[in-house]
Amino acid sequence: MPTMPAGTLYRGKVGMWSWVLHRITGVAIFFFLLVHVLDTALVRLSPEAYNAVISTYKTPLIGLAELGLVAAILFHALNGLRIILIDFWRKGVKYQNLMFWIVIAIALIAFIGFAPRHLSHVFG
């Protein structure tokens, strides 16, 4: 009887879900960046135009979206480093599972450090 292949890097479990998350966060950051370069370009139009658009971002809804953006970047950046270690470090594949949880832990700590401060600016 064929058995499930155990412990492949990208099939099932942490290896696969980290890849799914990496892909989704990459796409989200990409679309953010397209808009972000356009809104920053308004500084060449006039101070009034730039401030007008930026002030429409200073709302609770966008404030919460910014939390999402930071969470996405934290995961994508740290997991990106994990991918680099898997590819270039001799023991990378062996520790990929542990490294995933280290990524999650560091991202969570950074997020917890950031979120209350950001929310106090958004709602304060």
Partner: protein
């Protein structure tokens, strides 16, 4: 099918393989640099001081009167857009099944990338923190008051 699985022993096209290898390397090199650039950017613009509240024209004027932040932002602009575009290309290659649709999407991605890199670069190089005729209270404090 956009992904063709070759015969195991068929000869490889070396040039194409090298291009993909450089793309793969670029994702890793730019990624490592972007960690520093983006977290530095988020720290100064979203975390330090008043955070998001402080962002306005005068804030940008203050940062872009310092060549350090101009170089920082230019590096981030080029590295992040090319990294993101190349990543999106991989995803398009994975999910499109018709070759002409795949080609159209990949060309659009690089087109958008070229336009935004050019725009962003021009914005940094032509930026004037004290434009004539603007309301003085919107400008950075170092601008001469007329």
């Amino acid at each position: 099918m956009s992904v063709v699985i070759e015969q195991p022993r068929s000869p490889r096209n070396r040039n194409q393989a090298n291009l993909e290898k450089y793309g793969w390397l670029y994702m890793r090199l730019s990624g490592a640099l972007l960690v520093i650039l983006i977290f530095g950017h988020l720290f100064t613009n979203l975390f330090a001081g008043e955070g998001i509240k402080a962002i306005d024209f005068a804030f940008v004027g203050g940062k872009w009167s310092d060549p350090f932040w101009k170089v920082w932002d230019l590096a981030m602009l080029w590295l992040a857009l090319i990294h993101g575009t190349n990543g999106m290309r991989t995803i398009v290659n994975d999910y499109t099944s018709k070759e002409n649709i795949r080609k159209a999407l990949v060309w659009s991605l690089w087109g958008i990338c070229a336009v935004l890199v050019t725009l962003g670069t021009l914005v940094v190089f032509t930026f004037d923190p004290c434009p004539a005729g603007a309301l003085p209270e919107l400008l950075p404090s170092f601008c001469p008051t007329a």
